[in-house]
């Protein structure tokens, strides 16, 4: 099952689709309002884009600088080629210390690597501490959005989940009460945790420090209480210098949620006394993407989710319809790089409306990249059969004006002659919810030619008439 059929299933619930669309459009509107309050929003985007592109150009040297600085500050740095190495490193660190209880703050990277199931198989309990992330964890679902993991759920559904898993009174759907319940449940787990795992928003080469942006305080609590902090960071998260941070921090929260700044911006540099900080730097396909000139700019992504919020297809098909860790436009660019055949539908799950490129705080040319993936798919002959046939046929017909005239004329004549109900059936799926346009008897070309000869005839008649009058 691919995006098409999952999206169809999502849209079949018209009321939920409308609500999901409105919820995300509300976030998009907040983003617009936040952008209005920054005097030169577009210049800020350009600055961020330039910094990220520079960072991608200098990626190896920046990470080497980061490693040296982080070590100097007392952190331990690990390199992971892929998800498996990442999981092995993290599990090893925990096992060596006999750790069985871990709290984690939201990280798409550990989701991508499948860290939770890996640790759980080894008897290690991992608790996601971001509220939305915790909700989907309790439901054994993947996140449906990279910033708002439970945006696909209504509060009643969250209440049901909490009733089932935390003994909440049935029917509870008050957001404050639900949050309070999750909070007290999480508090005990924070206190019992032996290690905290976090993702990373920015790794600063110049200082060897890490920046994590959050709204719920779970990052600070989850790293301040346990003795061990493991920070997992994707290769694309490096920025050259501390002075680059404000550019991104001004853009990130505004683009993501319309907040001027997130509630917490946590900076980590080295380990505190009696504590350990381990940084796991993960490639997992990123260096391969870096070598692809058409797609490398996607590595500039700061995971704000603005392209998801604005995407008219994402809003009406839900994050789970993409079947990927990262859904929406950026996911449809990143995920085919991992497995093109499995994700062949994603570059086509888009009308090329271009809205994503306009909101992207680092100016990733998402529509062009989706188009480029379509080119790669076509070049490898990966088309559904129907599309391949339709394209080949259309190409032949349109190759010459005579083809368009003949087939167009024949087609129109047939449609006009056949019973409407039959034509309607032939023209599915276009006609499943749409009426066919009234089919004209003549093409523009025919009408135009007719008009020209009529004009010539009347001009001829007028000339003849004038000549007659003069003669008379």
């Amino acid at each position: 099952m691919g995006h098409v059929s999952r999206a169809r299933a999502f849209v079949a619930d018209a009321e939920r689709t409308g609500w999901h669309d409105q919820a995300l459009w509300f976030v998009r509107a907040k983003r617009d309002a936040a952008a209005d309050l920054v005097p030169d929003w577009e210049a800020l985007r350009s600055e961020a884009a330039a910094i990220k592109r520079e960072a991608l150009e200098r990626l190896p040297e920046l990470w080497i600088e980061f490693e040296a600085q982080a070590r100097r500050a007392g952190a331990v740095v690990h390199w992971a080629r892929d998800a498996e190495e990442h999981n092995t490193i993290v599990a090893g660190l925990l096992r060596e210390r006999g750790i069985t209880r871990v709290v984690k703050s939201k990280s798409m990277l550990t989701e991508e690597c499948g860290l939770n199931p890996h640790l759980e198989r080894q008897g290690i309990e991992v608790v996601d501490t971001d509220l939305g992330e915790r909700i989907v964890q309790l439901r054994h679902e993947p996140p449906s959005h990279i910033v708002m993991p439970a945006i696909h759920l209504r509060r009643g559904e969250v209440g049901e989940t909490f009733t089932r898993t935390m003994g909440a009174p049935p029917g509870l759907d008050d957001p404050d009460a639900l949050t309070a319940l999750a909070r007290s449940d999480l508090r005990a787990r924070f206190l019992a945790a032996q290690a905290g795992i976090t993702g990373v928003n920015f790794a600063v080469a110049e200082t060897g420090s890490l920046v994590v942006v959050s709204n719920e305080g779970n990052v600070d609590l989850g790293t301040a209480l346990p003795r061990l902090h493991i920070a997992c960071v994707g290769l694309e998260k490096i920025v050259p210098a501390q002075r680059d941070l404000p550019v991104f921090l001004r853009l990130l929260a505004r683009s993501a949620t319309g907040q001027a700044i997130s509630a917490y911006t946590s900076h980590f540099r080295g380990a505190m006394p009696e504590r350990e900080l381990h940084v796991v730097i993960v490639d997992n396909g990123r260096s391969r993407l870096l070598a692809e000139p058409e797609f490398r700019e996607a590595l500039a992504c700061i995971r704000c989710g603005a392209c998801l919020n604005t995407c008219p297809v994402y809003r009406r098909s839900g994050g789970h319809s993409y079947g990927t860790v990262i859904p929406g436009p950026i996911g449809s660019v990143l995920e085919p790089a991992r497995d093109l055949v499995a994700h062949a539908e994603l570059p086509h799950a888009c009308t090329l409306c271009g809205s994503c490129a306009e909101v992207c705080p680092v100016r990733i040319p998402l529509p062009q990249q989706l188009l480029a993936w379509r080119g790669v798919l076509a070049a490898r002959g990966i088309h559904p059969r129907r599309r391949r046939i339709a394209l080949r046929l259309a190409a032949e017909i349109l190759a010459r004006p005579i083809g368009l005239r003949l087939f167009g004329g024949l087609g129109r004549a047939l449609v006009r002659a056949l019973p409407a109900a039959f034509v309607d059936r032939l023209a599915r799926p276009w006609t499943r919810q749409r009426a066919l346009p009234p089919i004209p008897a003549s093409s523009f070309r025919t009408l135009w030619k007719r008009r020209q000869s009529a004009a010539r005839a009347s001009a001829g008649a007028r000339d003849a008439g004038d000549a007659g009058m003069e003669g008379g």
Partner: protein
């Protein structure tokens, strides 16, 4: 200035009245034009399907058909955007489509040459303006709602705004996609239709009588959905509205004076 008119293949076959409206409009405005016989399709459907080879073939045909013209005008934001921006292949770096730089969307062209100055015209209707995504975000006709760039002229609005009696209704989402997207409309039928229905609801709530656009493809999508559910909305290309609205040609002196 030699003007070539490009009537997109699907307009030629499905909405000839839009082509005729452009003809009427140009005649009324005194713009000389030709419609070269060799034209078929700009190649956009192939390009968006990833079939660069086929798209390039049609790009070369387009180039050849319009080689002799100073400007190519087309009543389609989407085709114009394709010809202008996508003829070159990002992947291979190959370039077809030297006609791209000379190609103009109809409204953009009329604004550029200031064709409606002093012409007048009247359209006492409540009009819903459906922004064509490609005219807006590729040709930069006006400012997308996402953008905070300095204001730009939105040709359709500029032209219609000059007509007496017209009311352009205020939409809740002024530039959301109609859901057409070429093959998307077939392959992702469910999402495509939901997108279109949401647009229609917005125009209905805003009190529009007629929905207009610089793209026929958006209008075919919206009209198909609206007609099936019995919506009273009418859908007309901006060329049709302008051709109807412009004041008739000033009568010739002999007509005023009467027969001598």
């Amino acid at each position: 200035m030699r003007v070539g008119l490009f009537i997109p293949c699907y307009v030629d076959q499905l909405r000839p009245e839009v082509g005729l409206a452009v003809v009427r409009l140009f005649e009324r405005l005194g713009i000389d034009f030709e419609i070269p016989d060799a034209q078929t399709c700009c190649g956009q459907p192939f390009s968006t399907a990833g079939e660069q080879g086929q798209a390039e073939r049609l790009a070369r045909r387009f180039d050849a058909a319009f080689a002799a013209f100073d400007v190519v005008v087309t009543p389609s934001g989407s085709c114009a955007a394709h010809v202008r921006h996508r003829f070159s292949d990002r992947r291979t770096g190959r370039r077809a489509g030297e006609a791209g730089g000379r190609t103009r969307e109809l409204c953009e062209f009329l604004v550029e040459i200031d064709a409606l100055r002093g012409i007048g015209g009247r359209l006492p209707r409540r009009i819903g303006l459906h922004a064509s995504c490609h005219a807006l975000r590729e040709l930069r006709h006006g400012n997308p709602s996402e953008s905070r760039e300095p204001p730009r002229v939105e040709p359709v609005r500029a032209l219609l705004g000059g007509l007496a009696g017209i009311e352009l209704v205020e939409l809740a989402r002024r530039d959301e996609c109609c859901g057409f997207g070429g093959l998307f409309s077939i392959e992702q039928e469910a999402v495509s239709c939901r997108m279109g229905l949401d647009r229609i609801a917005d125009h209905e709530r805003a009190g529009a009588e007629i929905v207009t656009s610089s793209d026929v493809s958006c209008l075919l999508q919206l009209e198909g959905l609206a007609r099936r559910r019995g919506s009273p909305l009418a859908f007309r290309h901006v060329a049709e509205l302008l051709a109807d609205a412009l004041a008739p040609e000033p009568p010739a002196p002999e007509a005023i004076d009467g027969p001598r």
